[in-house]
């Protein structure tokens, strides 16, 4: 299946001399949710802005649905909706007017029935005649989403969609994004809430200092880079780890009450059985045991550390 977005060797240096992007190579698959992770200033917004036409590309090309974003910008941009990071919306206008404006701007004839449904889906219908300045921050964010979807794009970019949004609203927004994905819209979001990417994304790209350092399926990323730990709560504290257990590279907690066994998530788990058998032979008893997996956050932090 053809990628819906193909970024080839994209580089961007701002007039100030700051190189925001270096040789970005990225394919976005049709219908996926792709999360672009990275610290502030890594180049996430620059990448999105270039694809959407707000920033001129430096070197390299970007194809949207096979259309060059410079040569065939009209057709390419009609396929894209963008929800910007800032709450930039004309505050003196009503919700209905601003959404209708967006639809027209993107070259679509008026379709009140569609806009009505869109506003209902975003719980904005009862606010349609309100001026935007009277809305709360969360509502303004939804107005921006409505504007981005007003022309029925195939691709939706969400730049930090849940920044400054409360937990409940964030859940609502995630649900809405999933519904959109189910309806066939490809979604690219940037975030530095890693839980958001972990919860939502099919694939994850990590960008750091203008370089895309990793792109992978979320599950395989977590498997490859994720660590699992087995924690054993000892009935009697150990002073040191018995020599017989040296092969397992165990760690003893600071209070000597807990044995920690770190293992690779991909590895066969037979080693756990043998470890437990060894503990039994050594007469080490434990009152409780549990395992924990590293989160995407741990992976992300270790990636950032490695690259530094």
């Amino acid at each position: 299946m053809q990628s819906i977005i193909q970024v080839n060797n994209l580089s961007k240096t701002y007039p100030s001399g700051f190189q925001a992007l270096q040789n970005i190579q990225l394919d976005i698959r049709r219908g996926e949710i792709f999360a672009l992770l990275g610290p502030n200033g890594a180049g996430k917004t620059t990448l999105i802005s270039i694809i959407c036409g707000i920033v001129n590309p430096g070197e390299g090309t970007v194809l949207v649905d096979g259309l060059d974003i410079v040569q065939q910008y009209r057709k390419a941009r009609q396929r894209i909706g963008l929800v910007p990071q800032e709450l930039s919306v004309s505050i003196f206008e009503t919700v209905w007017d601003t959404v209708s404006f967006s639809r027209g701007l993107f070259g679509k004839p008026a379709d009140p029935a569609y806009l009505q449904q869109l506003l209902r889906d975003l719980s904005l219908w009862d606010k349609k005649d309100s001026k935007i300045m009277t809305l709360s921050g969360g509502m303004k964010r939804r107005v921006l989403i409505a504007k981005a979807l007003a022309h029925q794009p195939q691709i939706l970019f969400l730049d930090e969609p849940t920044a400054g949004v409360d937990v409940e609203l964030r859940r609502d927004m995630w649900q809405m994004i999933r519904r959109l994905r189910d309806s066939g819209v490809t979604i690219i979001l940037t975030t530095h809430y890693i839980e958001e990417a972990e919860d939502m994304a099919d694939r994850i790209g990590v960008i750091r200092a203008g370089k895309l350092i990793l792109v992978d399926d979320k599950t395989s990323l977590m498997q490859k880079l994720g660590k699992k730990q087995l924690l054993l709560q000892l009935t009697t504290p150990l002073q040191q780890i018995p020599v017989a257990l040296a092969g397992y590279q165990l760690q003893l907690s600071a209070d000597n009450n807990q044995l920690i066994y770190t293992f690779d998530a991909q590895q066969e788990q037979a080693t756990i059985t043998s470890l437990l058998r060894q503990l039994n032979t050594q007469g080490i008893e434990f009152s409780d045991l549990h395992t924990r997996e590293s989160s995407l956050e741990d992976i992300f932090i270790s990636l950032m550390g490695d690259a530094a």
Binding site: I54, R74, A76, S88, I91, F92, L105, F106, G107
Partner: protein, 253 residues
């Protein structure tokens, strides 16, 4: 051509006019009425006729031009500066619209509003002074060309401005003085000879002279020259705008 986009921008800009009806339409009409009362009726009745035209009637074209020039400049500049200032320009930049469509939307709306205002003032003037229009079609031509030219000029100011102060400074400090000194309230022939020469460097002289000719058939400078000057000014503005969009200067990096 993305006609829906032109329409969207055009209507958005006109809606802004309706939202600020008092400021947009009522205040220029009021201030022009005051000019007519003071200069036209009160002082004008004691003035001698200029070129055979009563003073009240003589200032009608100049007053209309004064409003059309300042309003088209400030409207167009404000129209494009606001999205830059509020950040909503992201939407225009990411939309499938060309520079031509953006200009048709913004400049079209600013010019429409200025033309409408000009006509309203023309209509208002009838209540204060007696006048007739000798060449109505030429009058409209001058009005439309001037409104479009100065809306283009305003668009450039709006793109280049970095603050509200810079936005205001050209209409206030440049356009208004040039219009006052451009023969709104007097004929150039009333000036001392040296100033008659200097004043020819003021582009507004040509606009007002041409416009007044369409009313009364008398002009300070040749009508053809007036028309040529407007077209030259318009062409210069279009050239600057082309350059702005070509380089992305101040809009897009």
């Amino acid at each position: 051509m993305n006609f829906y986009a032109i329409k969207a921008i055009y209507l958005f800009e006109l809606a802004r006019t309706w939202r600020t009806l008092m400021q947009s339409i009522a205040s220029p009409v009021l201030s022009t009425s005051l000019y007519f009362i003071v200069f036209g009726s009160a002082i004008g009745s004691r003035m001698v006729a200029i070129d055979g035209i009563s003073y009240g009637a003589f200032i009608v074209p100049g007053l209309i031009m004064l409003t059309v020039l300042t309003e088209s400049t400030s409207n167009a500049s404000f129209g494009i500066y606001m999205p830059k200032f509020s950040g909503t320009i992201y939407e225009i930049l990411s939309a499938p619209v060309s520079a031509v469509e953006i200009i048709l939307g913004y400049v079209g709306a600013a010019a429409s509003k200025a033309i409408l205002l000009g006509l309203i003032i023309l209509f208002t003037a009838q209540f204060f002074v007696d006048f007739s229009i000798m060449h109505p079609l030429w009058m409209l031509t001058f009005l439309v060309l001037t409104a479009i030219s100065f809306s283009l000029f305003g668009f450039i100011i709006g793109v280049l401005a970095n603050s509200f102060e810079q936005l205001q400074i050209v209409p206030l400090m440049v356009i208004t003085p040039l219009t006052f000194l451009g023969g709104s309230f007097y004929s150039i022939s009333m000036l001392p000879p040296l100033w008659q020469q200097i004043t020819l460097f003021n582009p507004v002289v040509y606009l007002i002279s041409g416009f007044r000719w369409s009313f009364y058939g008398v002009a300070d400078v040749n009508v053809g020259l007036s028309l040529a000057m407007i077209l030259l000014f318009m062409a210069s503005c279009i050239a600057v705008i082309c350059w702005i969009f070509h380089t992305g200067y101040k809009v897009k990096v």
